[in-house]
Amino acid sequence: MNNACMAITVPYLAEASDWVDGLGSTDRPRFIRDLFGNGSPATHYPDSLILVNSFAGQSIANIRQLGLSTSGGPIFAFPQELEEPAPIVGTATGEVVFVETSGLWDQQVRSFGMHFYHPMATTKTPLVVQSVNTTAPSRNQDAEKRFRTAFQRGREERFEDGMESDFSNELESLVRTYGPNSKQILARLLEDKSISGRVWGEAMRCLGRLDDSGSYGARLWVLEKGLSSDSELIRDGAALGLASMDDLNAIPYLERAVRSETFGSLRSDMQDVLSQLTRR
């Protein structure tokens, strides 16, 4: 087995059985050679092996027959049928073999240190999208460029509450595509002062009302972060986004924001959102 360290952030749609305490642990991640006779797509995380296919049972048998180990970690299977691909990005510094199946993989990575980007099938029933961060997060420059371009184009638009815009549609599409990976990208863009506060205000509203369980945690985090922005446009948008999400976890962040807000009217609006949450 290959014990090379690597950094990978991989979004996938998980089943209830998938959750493992210790995913993203500090154990050294390992890659194993995937030699499943039936060609099931798979990816490997520290302490667990996730199989995404409809032949999970046979794949598990093959693994055991080959004497392969997942370092004592459990194996989880998704018995659902495969559906549309979702992006998976990362940098591999080990030998990874993906066996093509049903045309789901468009390349096989066999070399060390190769940056790869390829589609990965997802289960039919999206429940919780998990991002497994093993050592350091992998920065998807293409994804970040797409987000950044959307924000730059947004400057040309006029926004109105209750109305979709090209920017909001594009942002929604990007967040759905990149799921939890959106968090890191949006966090970096939030720190970028060259990005319009007006566009960010619209983004915050959009993030709050988006109906997408896969990116929920990422969006909540970005909205909570937005409450402490230097821009009142962003703070206002963040408060409105949190009002849309109606999540009690935002209460401490709103309490802090209310205490520190210097604009009286905005403080009052934040207090209203806080009241909405605390009245639930």
């Binding site: 998980a14 089943e15 209830a16 059985s17 959750w19 429940l127 919780v128 006029r158 926004f159 109105e160 509450d161 209750g162 109305m163 979709e164 007006r198 205000g201 509203r205 709050g208 009302r209 988006l210 109906d211 997408d212 369980s213 929920y216 945690g217 009142e232 446009l233 206002d236 409105l240 009002a243 849309s244 999400m245 109606d246 999540d247 604009f263 009286g264 009217s265 905005l266 609006d269 209203d272 959102v273 909405q276």
Partner: protein, 179 residues
């Protein structure tokens, strides 16, 4: 005194967030961009003295949207319009509420750049800003549909949002097995 209502973004018109570089009496340029002027005209809504039609106007405008959202607006004394020598005409609105459309819609017409600046400056200093929260808008829309106030079709997207759980976006489902 009767007032006129404009749908705006509250934070843009908020006097407490005036940039420090603004000279006395001046207004943020963003206010001008926030006015939805089309063909040199600005759509406004007439609010009765006792504000008895205010809720219905806001609801009608919200019903014209793509999704349920917070509703920010400002109201100002309609004397501002006449004092500035602006032209105001009673025209039909374009919301799903035909009563509101017929009764309370106005157009401020023949707007020049200078007139818009003068209007925006007067409004900035003399208007009342309000925000109706998203949850309240959702209630009002449901009420209006039940009362039959909305006599033309809402957008399919808005309809589907109204039938979803009130005031909530997607919730994360924690599917972790309990130990």
């Amino acid at each position: 005194m009767p007032r006129l209502l404009l749908k705006v973004r509250k934070i843009v018109w908020d006097k407490s967030s005036k940039p420090p570089f603004l000279p006395e009496g001046d207004i943020p340029a963003d206010c001008l961009a926030n006015l939805n002027i089309d063909k040199n005209e600005l759509s406004a809504w007439y609010v009765e003295d006792d504000e008895s039609n205010l809720k219905r106007i806001v609801t009608a405008l919200a019903a014209s949207c793509d999704f349920v959202s917070v509703f920010d607006y400002l109201t100002f004394d309609d004397a501002i319009v006449t004092d500035l020598g602006l032209t105001i005409r009673k025209t039909d609105g374009d919301t799903p509420d035909s009563v509101a459309n017929r009764s309370w819609h106005r157009d401020l017409t023949e707007l020049s750049g200078r007139r818009v600046l003068n209007l925006a400056t007067a409004i900035f200093h003399k208007s009342i800003l309000e925000r109706v929260p998203e949850k309240k808008i959702r209630e009002w829309l449901n009420e209006a549909m039940a009362n039959g106030n909305l006599d033309s079709e809402l957008s399919p997207k808005l309809k589907s949002k109204l039938s979803a759980a009130p005031g909530l976006a997607a919730k994360e489902t924690d599917t972790r097995p309990q130990k």
